[in-house]
């Protein structure tokens, strides 16, 4: 008995150490110069907690040399081994462009794991011989963990599909959507209530928990439908906080302080992160979220007024040749085409001809904040020529040419003028104020937000259709001739 108490204390001490590591690590992560060390410390914290859990009396008792198949350690290590290999390979192999997407999938896995754990702990009680014993705290925790875990899983997978353009990226809104959402939540509420109510009929509970998973699956889908692409990173932060809630629930199932502390930290810090992020889009979080559920999406289909203008590369070069000031506006399309190197070459050539070249980098361009900076870091463009929208916008009217390389939403003027646009309020690069605007674009498609861009039909805008890299190489060759 004494031995067990000492071990129990030791485990909790290890959890305490692990929690401190995670807290200190997260604090350090938020500063650029200590970020990597912070990451290492929080990883160590997680490692300490995992080692400590094996000293749990329940697990230690399963140690069995004679029959390996009965040994809990054996199965645990196999599963950890498989998971670690998949995780490391996947995270290493993924392309830079897809990193944010992978994050979304990983988050979904966390949610699914929580749901599975809660379900297995219910199943373990369910198959026990003898009378089914209700425990309100445990049952509430199981119901919530299954529901929230499943919801996070499906919502993350659909968010991922939306980000990878597997399903339509624009917000989908239809009549009766709110009613459907309310009905789904009501169904979830009813099944949870049935599950929690002390009952002797364990078979009913088994059916209810399966039904709850199915409802959570639908909820996750309904949750993501009205969300547009720009909001997905913020949505992922919120889904992350929901995984945190599921982990707290697991903590209540297993009476485990580590799970509760970490889950609570994840929940609130993710919400704060979502708030900070939505501020970088110049919106408040509730406004940003409610927009998708509200009305007004019919206003999005602005009537097409006027036509866009496109010219040949030779003619474009004639205009470019006379330009004294040129600003490049890179976007996600540039990273897809892999055109950063050729952008840097073209800029060099223009400078040699006497033009003043600058680069305007929007913090939200690309798939993740800072994406363009990261890609540009690999080129020879001197850091002094990079500017933020706040720095470049005031001098935009003085620019002879703004060259937009595969950007769309971040230069959409309707973010400033059209209050019904989902982009409204987002700070943009005012490329349309330049004397001439070149838009390098693959086709007539819309931006990721699915919103029409008036810029393309403005009188000072010239479209250069085709792969951004090919167009830039052609322009660059013209200079040489």
């Amino acid at each position: 008995m004494l031995h067990n108490i000492a071990l129990f204390d030791l485990i909790n001490l290890a959890y305490l150490l692990a929690a401190i590591c995670i807290i200190v690590g997260m604090k350090m992560l938020c500063k650029a110069n200590t970020a990597r060390l912070g990451l290492l410390i929080s990883a160590k914290g997680a490692f300490i907690a995992i080692v400590a859990v094996f000293f749990n009396a329940q697990i230690l008792d399963t140690w069995n040399i004679d029959n390996v198949l009965q040994n809990g350690f054996f199965w645990c290590f196999i599963a950890i081994f498989i998971g670690a290999i998949i995780g490391v390979l996947w995270a290493r192999k993924v392309k830079l462009n897809e990193m944010a997407n992978l994050l979304t999938i990983f988050n979904g896995f966390g949610g699914l794991a929580s749901a599975l754990i809660a379900f297995s702990s219910f199943y373990a009680i369910y198959i026990l011989d003898g009378e089914y014993i209700s425990d309100v705290v445990r049952d509430v925790a199981i119901a919530f963990a299954v529901f929230i875990g499943m919801l996070t899983f499906t919502a993350s997978i659909f968010a991922w599909a939306k980000q990878s353009r597997i399903i339509a990226t624009r917000p989908i809104v239809f009549r009766g959507q709110n009613l459907l959402n309310v009905l789904l939540l009501f169904a979830a509420f009813v099944s949870m209530a049935i599950f929690i109510t002390p009952t002797v009929d364990e078979n009913l509970n088994f059916i209810v928990i399966i039904a709850l998973s199915a409802i959570a699956f639908l909820c996750g889908f309904a949750f993501i439908l009205p969300i547009g692409r720009r909001k997905i990173p913020i949505m992922v932060s919120l889904l992350n906080s929901m995984t945190g809630v599921a982990i707290v629930m697991l903590g209540f199932i297993f009476i485990n302080t580590m799970l509760i502390v970490t889950g609570a930290l994840i929940t609130t810090s993710s919400i704060v992160l979502a708030i900070v992020k939505s501020k970088s889009l110049n919106r408040s979080l509730p406004k940003l979220l409610l927009r998708g559920f509200g009305v007004g999406y019919n206003d999005l289909r602005i009537s097409h007024s006027g036509d866009s203008r496109s010219i040949s590369i030779e003619n474009a070069y004639m205009i470019l040749e006379t330009a004294k000031t040129v600003v490049f506006v890179p976007g996600y399309g540039m990273t897809v085409a892999g055109a950063q190197q050729i952008v840097s070459e073209l800029a060099c050539k223009l400078e040699r001809k006497g033009a003043i070249v600058s680069f305007c980098i929007h913090p939200n361009a690309g798939r993740l904040p800072g994406h363009i900076n990261t890609v540009f870091a690999e080129t020879d463009i001197p850091y002094g020529k990079w500017g933020t929208p706040e720095e470049i916008n005031p001098i935009m009217p003085m620019q002879d040419i703004a060259i937009i390389v595969g950007a769309n939403d971040i230069v959409n003027p309707s973010a400033e003028t059209n209050t019904s646009s989902p982009l409204y309020g987002m700070p943009i690069i005012k490329a349309h104020e330049a004397k001439t605007v070149f838009v390098l674009k693959r086709g007539d498609g819309k931006g990721f937000s699915g919103v029409d861009n008036r810029l393309f039909r403005m009188p000072n805008t010239i479209m250069l259709y085709g792969d951004a890299k090919d167009t830039l190489i052609a322009l660059s060759n013209e200079i040489e001739n």
């Binding site: 997680a46 009965q70 966390g110 990173p233 982990i247 609570a264 930290l265």
Partner: protein
């Protein structure tokens, strides 16, 4: 009693989490911090380990919990590797200026 104690811990930790992220987080760290928080959520593996180790005699629970361990480990290990990669990219950019 133990329930109240757990709720107590929960609320204190929730407030701590709220204070942990600075309001002026540099925007190029947004994704890395999100990725790190996501990685930490792989800590759900603790619950899966307890279930898995104590249910070696039931094949259904064993398989379910092993899948859960796998998923949580992918979340944890993959998440940390991913965050490391994101930070490395950012640091290379910093060294340039």
């Amino acid at each position: 009693m133990i329930f109240l104690l757990l709720v107590f811990i929960l609320i204190i930790a929730a407030f701590l989490g709220k204070e942990l992220i600075p309001r002026k987080l540099p925007s190029r760290l947004h994704t890395a911090v999100m990725s790190a928080i996501n990685a930490i959520s792989g800590i759900a593996i603790l619950g899966a380990l307890i279930i898995c180790a104590t249910s070696t005699d039931n094949i259904v629970i064993l398989i379910l919990s092993m899948v859960a361990i796998c998923l949580a480990t992918i979340n944890l290990v993959g998440g940390f590797v991913l965050t490391e990669r994101l930070l490395t990219k950012n640091l290379r950019m910093k060294n340039k200026n």
